[in-house]
């Protein structure tokens, strides 16, 4: 008999495709909001239709529609078991003597009453086994972030304090964070001297070794001499902090690789680049620029480079040939695979005016009318079993004519049938053949651009990847199929991709 039951043991590991969906969606919605006044108009005009599909905009927003339309299925996924070990081993052998410089730390979402911050250092580094407190003598700045010329927060709660992870930095290990119980690594970001983001690894993309050591990879060893900054975002959760509940500590560490620096990390935060587009969207003559396009309508390529590959692309000769593996490419089941149901695309079914109007009204209701209703009825017997969708449906029907209701029902039924047809098609032989054909087509197209790739079936899975070689220059100007396809590219060594 089991001693304890962990629900998470019964949930599959969060797939990479899910993370990509999150990042792509975040990137799209944030860019859409920022882009211009035109974006506001679009947002107002094109309310999203919550139908369960990844694509939720009307024909009036072709760009965003395309972005969302690209289904969230990552085609080529490779298990990364053992890669963390490889990365760590690599780091140990390839270490370069480096020194710490300055940085800053910030803490957000502090627990209100359970802990206090003091100008003390409990976040420390291990250099050759010795603890180093590099950032003493800092002063907290005003909100929104507590920024300082130094690292370290002290939390009075001894239980929490004793569990703050140590950040280890030494010649043999470029950068690692030893996590303790209750802590998790959310994100690791590496900035160059200009404080521009050159690598960003989040969530489960962060390699893990022996269950407790996270390693940024050997990226730092591949960098040319200069000053770099590493930001490690860790968070801690405990029931002690039921109000703030989560402490997120963002530790910015200056790491002068081969060139000791005393330069403080700039306070200014760069614009978030949710999907790193380090090379393909920029001029080859300006490889240091990593800023994403300012406007959502500007061309941009959705490419994620592994950190090690990013480092090589920045330092290697343009003609150098690298072994690469494209482990994920996204596709659209309508445009790329040609899925149609009774001659119509899913988008056409979804954007049927009667259905779109219904879901637009639902959105409005859910965020304006419903919260008050929910608040009033909380605690009423049986309320927990209520279905907001059913409540809205009754609300909506009371306010519409029989003809409008019939039009909606017909559109909803047709859309439901189309979605279920797609669901079945995904698992059918025809669907799988279509995926393979698309990937072969993509492989051929890249080879026509000078790449030397072949489509490889990942052993014991239904997945594929593209393995082969390409020059640094070809990778810098990666010829994405169009602006809405998403690629995940990594180095390839010893018959397996190095996924970081």
């Amino acid at each position: 008999m089991r001693k304890s039951i962990r629900v998470s043991d019964a949930i599959p590991k969060m797939p990479v495709s899910f993370e990509q969906t999150v990042e792509r969606t975040l990137n799209s919605v944030c860019k859409e909001q920022k882009s211009s006044a035109r974006a506001k108009e679009r947002t107002a005009e094109n309310r999203w239709v919550p139908t369960g599909e990844s694509v939720r905009t009307s024909k009036k927003t072709p760009k965003i529609r395309q972005i969302f339309a690209y289904c969230t299925v990552a085609v080529l996924l490779v298990a990364i078991v053992g890669i963390g070990a490889f990365v760590l081993r690599n780091a140990l052998y390839n270490g370069r003597q480096t020194e710490l410089s300055h940085g800053m730390t910030e803490q957000t979402e502090l627990p209100k009453d359970d802990a206090t911050l003091q100008n003390d250092v409990s976040y420390y580094f291990l250099v050759d086994g010795e603890p180093v407190y590099p950032f003493e003598g800092f002063a907290w700045e005003s909100k929104p972030g507590l920024e300082a010329d130094g690292a370290g927060v002290r939390i009075e709660d001894e239980k929490v304090r004793s569990q703050i992870p140590a950040t280890e930095y030494s010649a043999g290990m470029p950068f690692a964070v030893l996590t303790a119980d209750g802590w998790k690594m959310d994100e690791i970001i590496v900035f160059d001297a200009a404080y521009e983001r050159i690598a960003d690894v989040a969530g489960s993309g962060i390699p893990k070794e022996e269950g407790s050591v996270y390693v940024v990879t050997d990226l730092l060893n591949t960098l040319s001499p200069g000053t770099y900054y590493v930001s490690a975002i860790v968070s801690y959760r405990t029931e002690n902090y039921s109000r703030g509940n989560e402490i997120a500590i963002c530790l910015h560490v200056g790491t002068g690789a081969g060139e000791p620096s005393t330069t403080d990390a700039p306070i200014l935060q760069p614009e978030p680049s949710l999907l790193p587009t380090p090379f393909a969207s920029q001029s080859p003559s300006d490889p240091s620029s990593t800023q994403p396009p300012k406007d959502a309508d500007e061309p941009q390529t959705y490419v994620t480079w592994s950190a090690a590959l990013t480092g090589l692309l920045r330092t290697e000769d343009p003609d150098a040939v690298l072994n690469i593996s494209i482990i994920a490419i996204t596709y659209n089941e309508e445009d790329d695979l040609g899925f149609l149901y009774q001659g119509k695309s899913l988008t056409e079914y979804r954007e049927e005016p009667a259905l779109a109007a219904y879901w637009e009204a639902y959105d409005l209701w859910y965020f304006t009318v419903y919260p008050a209703v929910d608040e009033q009825n909380r605690g009423t017997p049986g309320w927990e079993k209520h279905d907001p969708g059913a409540l809205f449906d009754a609300y909506w029907r009371e306010r519409h004519t029989d003809a409008e209701i019939r039009a909606y029902e017909q559109a909803a039924e047709a859309y439901g049938e189309a979605k279920n047809a797609l669901r079945s098609w995904r698992d059918s032989t025809a669907g799988k053949d279509a995926v393979r054909a698309f990937l072969q087509q993509e492989c051929d197209r890249l080879n026509a651009c000078g790449f030397r790739l072949q489509l490889v079936r990942v052993e014991d899975t239904q997945s594929y990847r593209l393995d082969g070689t390409a020059t640094v220059e070809q990778l810098r100007a990666f010829p994405a199929r169009d602006v809405t396809h998403f690629y995940w590219i990594t180095l390839y060594n010893d018959d397996s991709p190095i996924d970081e």
Binding site: V7, E19, C30, S54, R378
Partner: protein, 161 residues
């Protein structure tokens, strides 16, 4: 708060995504639909981020939206075919040796119970879970208790069998 800055929004979503996957999976049981629900929930949350009262409540607010999206997808799916079967997972389990049994057992108890238990084990407070599930705190506690009892019973029966 008046509105949530993009950076904060992104950070909050990233911090909750793993739990979000679990919440969606416990309802939808397949990763394709989880991705759809998550994408939909992010878009909706972003559009309405100004309605969050305070940042501390963002996670629960977002998970409530996600859960609603998951049920929307479930309703649409059931319009055409009803099924109680447990689809095969598309990705590996943390511990394949025992998780299939555990998963089968989990799917035999009500979704409200399994998600309450899951969120508790993920470190969510009773108040947050209550907010996600639209129930009073007392109900959350009783659901978690019932979930544990039911799971133990199911697994013990399986072990004996």
């Amino acid at each position: 708060m008046a509105t949530i800055h993009d950076d904060v929004f992104v950070s909050e979503i990233r911090s909750v995504k793993r739990t979000a996957f679990g919440v969606a999976f416990l309802i939808l049981k397949n990763t394709y639909d989880c991705e759809d629900a998550m994408s939909a929930a992010i878009v909706k949350a972003y559009e309405h981020r100004g309605t969050v009262k305070q940042r501390a409540s963002f996670r629960a607010w977002f998970l409530r939206i996600l859960r609603n999206e998951a049920y929307t997808i479930l309703r649409e799916r059931r319009k055409v075919f009803e099924t109680d079967e447990i689809p095969e997972a598309l990705t590996p389990f943390p511990d394949p040796a025992q998780s299939l049994d555990l998963r089968a057992a989990l799917m035999r108890i009500p979704e409200e119970q399994r998600n309450a238990l899951y969120l508790q084990q993920e470190g969510y407070s009773m108040e947050e879970i209550a907010d996600v599930l639209h129930v009073p705190v007392g109900t959350v506690k009783s659901r978690i208790s019932r979930a544990k009892q039911a799971l133990r019973k199911i697994l013990e029966e399986d072990d004996n069998a």
